[in-house]
Subunit: 125 residues, 2 copies
DNA sequence: TCACTAGCTTACCTAAAGGTCAGTACCTTA
DNA sequence: TAAGGTACTGACCTTTAGGTAAGCTAGTGA
């Protein structure tokens, strides 16, 4: 495991101090990178899905956390909710334009994690 | 806030179920997307830095969390630690090759968050 | 002799994230 | 008549992430 001397250029905005402590980006980043936030965004990057689909796809999520996470992402304007007044209820969730912008950056990251995870986690203990 | 009908193609690997619950990628993702993990990786993407530099750049981090986060990232082979046997001690941290690979994906994400955060967080309450 | 440095570790505690389970509304199917 | 599906909410409890503060090491400068 050798150190490598190159550096990825950083946006000047956070060249010093990464970014300040009370900064809104910290909050947004917390929403996006929360345990279930990532998974929901990734799942939705494939297109509109129902509540029950999301429950299955984000394996292990509780209904409480699904509701909470979706609400946060909706408030942030990343996810849009479409409820149809039918019985039994049917609610579809999808990414907004902004959500797709984000998922375009998130998918490669998660894909990388997926590809490297076994190697990394198993060899690190 | 309109829904948009396009979809980002997902790696087939997690086309179904995003990825399984006990999967190593969940663990790795937790390390990477932890509150301080992201910031440390971003800070190091600019190049080697000392302990005390990192403390300053990741504004608000406690010594305990800095140590813990660095250890995790080191165990995962993303960060390398170079301690010089001098007094007072001097320890440099840098990204490994794998760490740079990752930070190349992480930086655009964080930059996006930085650019959109104010807009999103302020208008969502 | 004392304080001061940098890079930690440890013990203790709090706050927040998250889990479990029960309940609800309304209709359909067995 | 009873059970089941769907999309939730709320109460309550546990687990974990993270904060605070003190201590340690081994030298150097005052």
């Amino acid at each position: 495991m050798e150190a490598v001397p190159q550096a990825v250029p950083l946006p000047l905005a956070f060249a010093d101090g990464v970014f300040p402590a009370g900064c809104p980006s910290r909050t947004l980043l917390d929403h996006i990178t929360s345990k279930w936030g990532v998974l929901i965004l990734i799942a939705l990057s494939e297109g509109e899905q129902r509540w029950s689909d999301l429950r299955r796809r984000a394996e292990g999520i509780s209904e409480k956390m699904l509701a909470q996470t979706l609400k946060t992402l909706e408030r942030d304007g990343l996810v849009s909710r479409n409820a149809q007044p039918v019985i039994p209820p049917r609610v579809d969730y999808s990414l907004t334009e902004r959500g797709y912008e984000l998922s375009g950056l998130l998918v490669p990251l998660v894909a990388w994690a997926f590809e490297n995870a076994e190697d990394i986690i198993n060899s690190s203990r």
